[in-house]
Symmetry: C2
Subunit: 476 residues, 2 copies
Amino acid sequence: MGVMSFRDSMFLLAESREHPTHVGSLLLFDRPEDAGPDFLSDLHRRLVSDRTVAPLFARRAVRTVGTLGQWAWEPDEDLDLEYHVRLSALPRPGRIRELLELVSRLHGTLLDRHRPLWEFHLIEGVEGDRFAAYFKFHHAMMDGVTGARHLQKTLSTDPEDLDTPPFWQVDPRSRKKKPSTEVATRETGVLERVGSAVTESARTVASAVADTVRTTNSALGVAPVLANAFYEGLAHRDTALPFEAPHSMLNVPITGARRFAAESWPIKRIQRVRERTGSTVNDIVLAMCSGALRRYMLELDELPDRSLVAALPVSLGTTGSGNQLGAILVTLATDEPDPGVRLERIKASTKAAKGNLDQRDPMAVAALSLAVAAPLPLGTVPGLSSVINPGFNLIISNVPGPKDPLYWVGAKLSGLYPVSIPLDGQALNMTVFSYADNMEFGLTGDRRAVPRLQKLLTYLEESLVELEDVADAADG
Amino acid sequence: MGVMSFRDSMFLLAESREHPTHVGSLLLFDRPEDAGPDFLSDLHRRLVSDRTVAPLFARRAVRTVGTLGQWAWEPDEDLDLEYHVRLSALPRPGRIRELLELVSRLHGTLLDRHRPLWEFHLIEGVEGDRFAAYFKFHHAMMDGVTGARHLQKTLSTDPEDLDTPPFWQVDPRSRKKKPSTEVATRETGVLERVGSAVTESARTVASAVADTVRTTNSALGVAPVLANAFYEGLAHRDTALPFEAPHSMLNVPITGARRFAAESWPIKRIQRVRERTGSTVNDIVLAMCSGALRRYMLELDELPDRSLVAALPVSLGTTGSGNQLGAILVTLATDEPDPGVRLERIKASTKAAKGNLDQRDPMAVAALSLAVAAPLPLGTVPGLSSVINPGFNLIISNVPGPKDPLYWVGAKLSGLYPVSIPLDGQALNMTVFSYADNMEFGLTGDRRAVPRLQKLLTYLEESLVELEDVADAADG
């Protein structure tokens, strides 16, 4: 039995029925050409009959007198694979709409803490001769990026390769199975490594905070310590928090129910705009989100006068226990009607934020990083979220993924969408994942605070078309 | 905004992620003969497009500074009917097995406390040209018996009657729609009225307990008061708790996941045994449960030496706010291998329990009734359940239902199964509901503590066959 790291246990301590701290992935597959009507139920039966489970997926979280009240991991001696690996179906007509509805529901329920903290759902009945899979795991077990990378590792670039064990049979840290793909280049994503000086100092501060917190023995005891760290960050806002985030409809308490929407855009379209405007792919993704959010909020008569501020997770480097996440803040220029000017302001903002990262006050970096990478304790300690203005309106993550098409049990993965965590005061999360020829957008929102979330997909497309016009004009 | 009764708010106070305090019903329908493939999705669309919702189903639970920390009801001004009324589907081949699997999962998730505390799921893809519906509501809103009665009221005995509004459009207390059926006679169920002297004294004690508890302001504060009432009950166990319930595999802490199993038996078969053995229907139901539990526990090598003790809810009369539930304790004679002797011991036990009810110490009656009708606070206050031996091993409810076949939107209700609440220390609940020509058994168990719950259905049948042999011998 091993005591859990403070960072991981925070996700369990701070979790409540309105704030599950699990993340997920939605995978869309083409059925193999020779698949019969019972392909999926046969696959399900085969999966649950093989009792191989890697240690990470076979351990559960416990907190007992024996662990002095600390969360710890122990093997689940009585693992019930049929509980974790489930077969579901869409009602007719099985459109993407019905799929998103089901995934919204599945993502809104809590994981059972008496068991290893993951679920895998096979979903049949997706129109167009497809099936889907939804994978859900607790953030205390793995962060979202590590989870997505691990999932990739268990897929194959070869359609004929049927030796593709399900992810729970493979240890994420093992090298047994050669990774079948490489992650995309740094250029396509913001999750790049930044100066190691910052990494070290940030880690020192974080570990000091952790040591203090470890001496307290209750979930509520966490509050003042983290709040102090956070207020420290606010005191240094000239360097760490350069923008004043307006209050918006996204920054409200949330409920337990979710809305999830997802769609793919060809990377080619984004690359074309990027080249002609001298931007990065990340700038274009942010500009798409900005234009869509502006339109969405205008329609609801909820657009703030000042621009929305987004927090972007960045990697502070990799350690044994996974990615150390930090964050930068960028303006989305949502107060600007002209899409060309908006893009320029976003470009300037991301450039400045990355350039300044090395010179920042390490305490402020740690505070912001805590708020983004482990934001739940701040958000869910009663009363705290209504007091604190977190300095940003939403988190937009841009995660580089595999460049080549992937296959599982001979079925082609046609889409791979991230499903993330909305927070109290952060009712919408936009996560973008690159896969093969597409950028896959996953929008996870609170069901009540973010009505008609699906519309954002339409507005993302309209926003990209606007940017294409800007690119054409720049080129012409 | 109305402050909630203490009794109702207890179910909210005591609820945790492992102990949802909602109950449910599973309804199985034959599709109307002229129904096309889109019958159910059309029905779903029609249901969510009519925004009529009766007040009881449109209010949500709140606890704020304004209510001084007490739970209260307030109308949900922003009711999202599509959240409450859902369309789902079974994976192929859509057997009862897949249906029970889905209902087990749906029953294991918590209701969203930001919304009215109910969900209704239409389920397509049930083999044999059928569809199903699963209705889930919080015990703080309605008790299980009231819920089942209300559901009935919205169905029709006339297959041609298409004017059958869904239950959430009808107020359970209104007389607008004439009840289309009458409940079965007293003889078929244990939910009969008992002496009003007991009712009054029990109610006085319960209300004294409630008054004391009302002065405390936290979930934990409830513990010592109820525990005292309970220990009082134990002190009078010579009258109130005549049996010494053995510790058994059913009396362990539970997890958040559920197993649900259900099946129907013809009332005729049970009536025949009843007549030939001079028993009540209730005795035969108990004897079936007893024989099944004995076989199940023998197979797992978990049968206690002493007999299991069951608690049977009985009605102490009807008040404005619904049924006042009490309970009697009966031995199941599971230590007896001979089914005939087992039945005789059960008969003697139920007869004595009912006969003694009037002479009981009212404090002991109140304590037992609290433990059965509102058992959660005792079970879920941390640490308490492992200290207290509740005096019984499981709750078996036998609820009289409608005698005539019922229809909804022209579809015949072919089965109606209760889905109940397992508790810490009470890992299995057996509830039996009479409907038309059948006794409908619904078994709700903790997924971990009660493995292979489905087997109990087989053993119930074997147990009834044994009793039929006893009846034939008695007759011959």
